[in-house]
C-alpha cells in the first residue's frame, strides 16, 4: 500500500489541477491549475523510474558497492521529466505574458467579463 502513495498523489494533483482549470474564474488561477497538472504528470514519470533503495543514476559519483545497473534509478524517465519541465516553463511564460496583454485590454482577469464571441 505504501508504495502506491506516489500514484495516489499523482491522481490527486491532476484532479485538483483540472478542478482549478474548470471552476476557477480567474485566469491566473487557471494557469496555476495547468501547472499543478503538469507537476502531477512529472511526478508520475519520476515514480515510474524509481527502484526501491536505488541511488541517482550518475556513473561518476556512485557510492561504492552499488550494483550496476540494478542499484540505480532508471534514468530515461528523469530525462523525459527534465524535457517536460523545460517545455512547461516556456508555456507558463507565454501564458502569463498573454495574461498581461489581456489585462491591458480588458482591465480584468475575470473570465466572465472577457471576450465572449458567439
Amino acid at each position: 500500500m505504501i508504495f502506491n502513495f506516489p500514484f495516489i498523489a499523482v491522481i490527486a494533483l491532476i484532479i485538483i489541477g483540472l478542478y482549478a482549470m474548470v471552476f476557477r474564474k480567474n485566469l491566473i488561477k487557471m494557469v496555476i491549475g495547468i501547472t499543478i497538472i503538469q507537476s502531477g504528470v512529472n511526478l508520475f514519470l519520476i515514480t515510474l523510474g524509481y527502484r526501491e533503495g536505488s541511488v541517482a543514476p550518475i556513473f561518476t559519483s556512485l557510492p561504492s558497492g552499488t550494483e550496476i545497473p540494478q542499484g540505480m534509478a532508471f534514468p530515461v524517465p528523469q530525462a523525459l521529466t527534465l524535457t517536460s519541465i523545460v517545455i512547461g516553463v516556456a508555456v507558463l511564460a507565454l501564458m502569463l505574458s498573454l495574461i498581461i496583454h489581456i489585462y491591458r485590454h480588458y482591465g480584468t482577469l475575470d473570465v466572465r467579463k472577457i471576450g465572449g464571441e458567439k
Binding site: L48, V76, I102, H105, Y106, E117
Partner: protein, 523 residues
C-alpha cells in the same frame, strides 16, 4: 554515393533541421534588409519543400525511411530517437509544405505593414519545424516535444496582432487547450512506457496488449489529439484562433491541425494496430459519431456567423468531420476482412484524400478573406457589398473555393466527398445522408457570403478599393490551380499519392517490421 542519394538518406533530419536553423538565423538576416529576409525565408521553405517532395517520391515507391539519432545498434534499447517516414507521413508532409510555401509567399505583401516581422518569420519557421517533426517522428516522446513546439509557435502567431484584445484572448484559449492536451498525451506516454519500457511507436506497436491501462492511454490520446484537431465538442478554441489570427497564419494553423489528425490515425492504426481486432468496431463507431456531430455543429454554427473569417473557421470544423467520417468508417470495418475490402478501403481513401482537399479549399477561402480584409479593412459581412466590382481576381478565387468546399464538380472536393458518400452509404445510409446534408448546407453558407460580400451595388465607402498585390494573387493562384488539377484528374492523385498513404495505414505491420524485423503480427 551521389549527392541526391546523400540528400535522400538524410532528408528526414534535414526537413526538420533546415527550418529550425533558419528560424534562428532569421533575426540576424533581418538586420540587413527586409527584402533579403523575405527572400531568405521563402528560400528556406522552398528547400524544405523540395526535400519533402524528394523524400515523398521515394517513399511512395514503397520504401520506408528510418533515420536514427543516437546509437545505430538497434539491439540496445532506448538510447536513440528514431524518425520513421512511411507513405502516410510523407503525404502529410506534402500538405504541410504546400501550405507553408503558399503562406510565406502570401505574407510578403499581406503582413508587410506590421512591425516585428523578424519575430513573425522566426515563429513561422519554428512552427514549420514542429509540424514536420510531428509528421515524421517515430517516437512517442519526440512527438510530444514537437507538439509543444507547434503549440507555442502557433499560440504566439495567433496573438500576432496584440493590439486586438480578441486575438490575445483567442491565443490564450488556444494555449490552455493545447497545453492540457499535451499533458494528457505525456500522461498516456508514461502509462505506455511504464508497461512496455519503450517509447518507439513501432516497438510499442509490436508488444501492445490492450490491457486496462492501454485502454486508458488510448482514450486519453484520442481525446487529447481530437482536442488539438478541433473535433466537436472540443472545438471552441478553433473558430476563435482561426478567426482572429492573420490569414497567412491561419493557413499554417490548418497544417498544424492536420498534424494532430495524423496523430489520431497513427495512434489508432499503428500504435494500437496489433490489437485492432479487439477494439476496431467500437473505436471506429466513436470516431464516426464524432465526425457526424462535428459536421452538423460546424455547418449549423457557420450559418449564423456574420464575421467572414469566423464563418470559414466553422466550415473548417465541418470539413474535419468529413475526414473523421471516412477514416472512422474504415476503422469500423478493419477487423472484417471481406467488408473492409469492399467498403473500408474506399472510405479510407476518401478520408485521406479529403485531408489534402480540406486544407487546400479552406486555405484558399481564408486567403480570400485575408485579401478582402487587406483591401477593405473590414471583417463583418454585414458591412460588405459589391466587392466583385473592385476585386475581380479575388472574386474568381472565392468562387473556386466555394465550389471546391461544397463538393461540386469539377473541383477536388467533389472527388473525395463522392468516395465518402458511396462507401458510408453501404455501411449505413444515415451516415451519407448527414454528410450530403452538411455539404449542401456548406454550399448555402458560402452562397450567402458570395451574395453579401461580392455581389450587390457598389458601396460608396469602397470606392477607393483596389485589387490586392500580385504576390497575394500569386499565392491564391497556386492553391486554386492545384484545386482545379486535383479536381480534373482525381484518379492520378488517388493512385499516386492517396493509395500509398492508405496502404501504409492498413499495413501497419510494415511500419513495425522496419524497426523490428522479426515481428510476425498483422495481416
Amino acid at each position: 554515393m551521389s549527392f541526391i542519394d546523400f540528400l535522400l538518406q538524410h532528408s528526414p533530419a534535414l526537413i526538420v533541421a533546415i527550418p529550425l536553423l533558419g528560424a534562428f538565423l532569421t533575426p540576424l538576416i533581418s538586420k540587413i534588409n527586409n527584402r533579403v529576409r523575405n527572400v531568405f525565408v521563402i528560400l528556406i521553405i522552398l528547400i524544405t519543400t523540395i526535400l519533402v517532395m524528394l523524400l515523398a517520391s521515394d517513399v511512395f515507391s514503397g520504401n520506408i525511411h528510418t533515420y536514427v539519432f543516437g546509437s545505430q545498434d538497434l539491439t540496445v534499447p532506448l538510447v536513440r530517437i528514431l524518425f520513421e517516414v512511411d507513405a502516410m507521413s510523407a503525404f502529410m508532409a506534402i500538405i504541410g509544405s504546400i501550405l507553408l510555401l503558399v503562406s510565406v509567399i502570401y505574407s510578403w505583401s499581406f503582413i508587410d505593414e506590421n512591425s516585428g516581422l523578424d519575430k513573425y518569420y522566426t515563429l513561422v519557421l519554428l512552427l514549420a519545424a514542429g509540424m514536420f517533426g510531428m509528421m515524421l517522428t517515430g517516437d512517442m516522446f519526440n512527438f510530444f516535444v514537437f507538439l509543444e513546439i507547434t503549440s507555442i509557435a502557433s499560440c504566439a502567431l495567433i496573438a500576432f496582432w496584440t493590439n486586438k484584445g480578441k486575438a490575445v484572448e483567442a491565443a490564450f484559449k488556444y494555449i490552455v487547450i493545447s497545453s492540457l492536451a499535451a499533458l494528457f498525451i505525456l500522461f498516456s506516454i508514461a502509462l505506455l512506457y511504464g508497461q512496455y519500457n519503450a517509447l518507439n511507436i513501432a516497438v510499442l506497436g509490436s508488444v501492445i496488449q490492450f490491457s486496462y491501462l492501454d485502454k486508458i492511454a488510448l482514450v486519453l490520446l484520442i481525446a487529447a489529439l481530437a482536442m488539438k484537431a478541433g473535433i466537436v465538442p472540443m472545438h471552441m478554441w478553433l473558430p476563435d484562433a482561426y478567426g482572429r489570427a492573420p490569414a497567412s497564419v491561419t493557413i499554417i494553423l490548418i497544417g498544424a491541425t492536420q498534424a494532430s489528425l495524423y496523430g489520431v490515425f497513427r495512434v489508432c492504426f499503428t500504435l494500437y494496430g496489433n490489437t485492432i481486432n479487439l477494439s476496431s468496431a467500437s473505436i471506429g463507431w466513436i470516431i464516426v459519431l464524432l465526425g457526424l456531430i462535428t459536421m452538423l455543429i460546424g455547418v449549423a454554427m457557420a450559418l449564423i456567423q456574420s464575421d467572414f473569417k469566423r464563418l470559414i473557421a466553422f466550415s473548417a470544423v465541418a470539413e474535419i468531420g468529413f475526414i473523421f467520417l471516412g477514416i472512422g468508417t474504415g476503422l469500423t470495418l478493419f477487423a472484417n476482412n471481406q467488408m473492409f475490402g469492399l467498403i473500408g478501403t474506399t472510405a479510407m481513401s476518401g478520408g485521406i484524400f479529403h485531408i489534402i482537399n480540406d486544407s487546400l479549399d479552406v486555405g484558399l477561402l481564408f486567403l480570400v478573406a485575408g485579401a478582402v480584409y487587406y483591401a477593405t479593412k473590414e471583417t463583418s459581412l454585414d458591412k460588405m457589398g459589391g466587392l466583385a466590382r473592385h476585386m475581380k481576381y479575388t472574386t474568381i478565387f472565392f468562387i473556386i473555393g466555394l465550389l471546391a468546399i461544397s463538393g461540386i464538380p469539377p473541383m477536388n472536393g467533389f472527388a473525395s466527398k463522392l468516395l465518402i458518400y458511396e462507401s458510408t452509404f453501404q455501411l449505413n445510409p444515415i451516415l451519407s445522408i448527414v454528410a450530403i446534408l452538411s455539404s449542401i448546407m456548406l454550399l448555402a453558407v458560402f452562397v450567402k457570403v458570395f451574395h453579401s460580400a461580392f455581389l450587390g451595388p457598389a458601396l460608396p465607402k469602397f470606392n477607393g478599393v483596389k485589387e490586392v498585390p500580385k504576390t497575394m494573387l500569386f499565392a491564391m493562384g497556386i492553391i486554386a490551380s492545384i484545386i482545379i488539377i486535383f479536381g480534373l484528374f482525381p484518379d492520378l492523385v488517388i493512385n499516386n499519392i492517396v493509395d500509398p498513404a492508405v496502404n501504409a495505414l492498413i499495413n501497419y505491420s510494415d511500419y513495425i517490421r522496419e524497426v523490428i524485423p522479426t515481428f510476425t503480427g498483422g495481416f
